[in-house]
Symmetry: C2
Subunit: 217 residues, 2 copies
């Protein structure tokens, strides 16, 4: 049964691949699983039909027969559990891989989202400039710790895994912050992820949605 995922009909980042469907596309490409994409508009995301699948009215979702999932961490873990290649066999290494998947969305991503939201919603407010160093410091504290833990390793815990799919895509959301450059090992880590053939295929597919929208517009 071919799974169906949802993605933005109109790319808010003009095809840079920062939307959360990128993680799911990448995981599916890594394991060589076919999938279909249903594009949804910003309006349709908030309507009852979509919220029946994703109660918080976001993308992506993942539908496969009777199963409907949201939350990229859960979707990527589901894919990793049903196909070879994204989870180690050793039980302890598997638990650590899941740990890093949670760390990506619960420890690294929130300060990046907070900083992005401030730029989006508050950059014209009189307090924006004064608050910005605090928001940047919150990101820096987390990515600095991540950099020290990663050290010279190629991936987060041994071989490439679902943890790296999550962490690389989360870190990319901070690319415009100017903070990643302080940590050359993180920059190289992201580049290693982006160089993988499966990443490139996923990126091209999400970019095509943007390019098609431009052509149609």
């Amino acid at each position: 049964m071919t799974p169906v995922i949802t993605a933005f009909e109109s790319s808010p980042d003009r095809g840079r691949g920062l939307a959360r469907d990128m993680r799911v596309r990448w995981a599916l490409e890594e394991v060589g699983a076919a999938y279909e994409v249903r594009l949804v508009s910003f309006r349709a995301m908030k309507e009852a039909a979509h919220k029946a699948i994703h109660p918080f009215g976001q993308i992506p979702t993942y539908e496969e027969g009777d199963l409907a999932l949201f939350e990229t961490g859960a979707i990527v873990l589901h894919i990793a559990e049903r196909h070879a290649g994204l989870l180690p066999d050793d039980a302890n290494a598997r638990a650590r891989t899941i740990m890093w998947m949670f760390a990506a969305v619960n420890t690294i991503e929130p300060p990046i989202v907070e900083w992005s939201a401030a730029w989006l919603m508050e950059r014209d407010k009189p307090w924006y400039e004064e608050r910005l160093p605090m928001l940047q410091a919150r990101i820096d504290a987390r990515i600095g710790d991540l950099s020290r833990r990663l050290g010279e390793a190629e991936w987060l815990d041994g071989a490439f895994s679902a943890a790296d799919v999550m962490m690389v895509t989360v870190l990319r959301r901070a690319e415009n912050s100017g903070l990643l450059e302080r940590y050359p090992n993180l920059v190289a880590y992201i580049a290693r992820g982006e160089a993988r053939p499966a990443y490139r295929r996923a990126f091209a597919d999400q970019y095509a949605v943007f390019a098609d929208g431009q052509a149609a517009g």
Copy 2:
């Protein structure tokens, strides 16, 4: 092998059980697993010995033989996978349980943490009052959607599970916001969690750390 978790030596919430060790204690009590607790000071959390286990310098951690974990979602899932009672047998229901665990820490918790941090760090700033409605609206949007999805159900997806351990403890962090009261079904949901014998044992154990500290002080 008895697992060892870490918790705050000095309870920042005066024993209200809002620290993240509560989730892990509750899960361990639900499955009837013995565990030990190592208390750590705020200073020790940031030192090399602790950061070797938890690279972001926080609590709780979970050590069991050769395995060392951080991230409460991963720890609770690890416990749920190795003991009966917190994960359904059906594969789809299991995937949805993991989905709700990610939703707790990735969708519900971040706006609560953002609001808490603003109170802690910025309540004396001139912009605090003007920003507060926005921070409250972010929490409200998420818990409103959660309330509509929960409806009249007892737990998030069928029987009580690890998802409810995560979601109840995350929601409790918004107790002082005055926002939960808008959703009587969420208030009742939290109360159902708090009424479970395992929750009560976990709560009493974390409260004892605070009470002992008071007595020693």
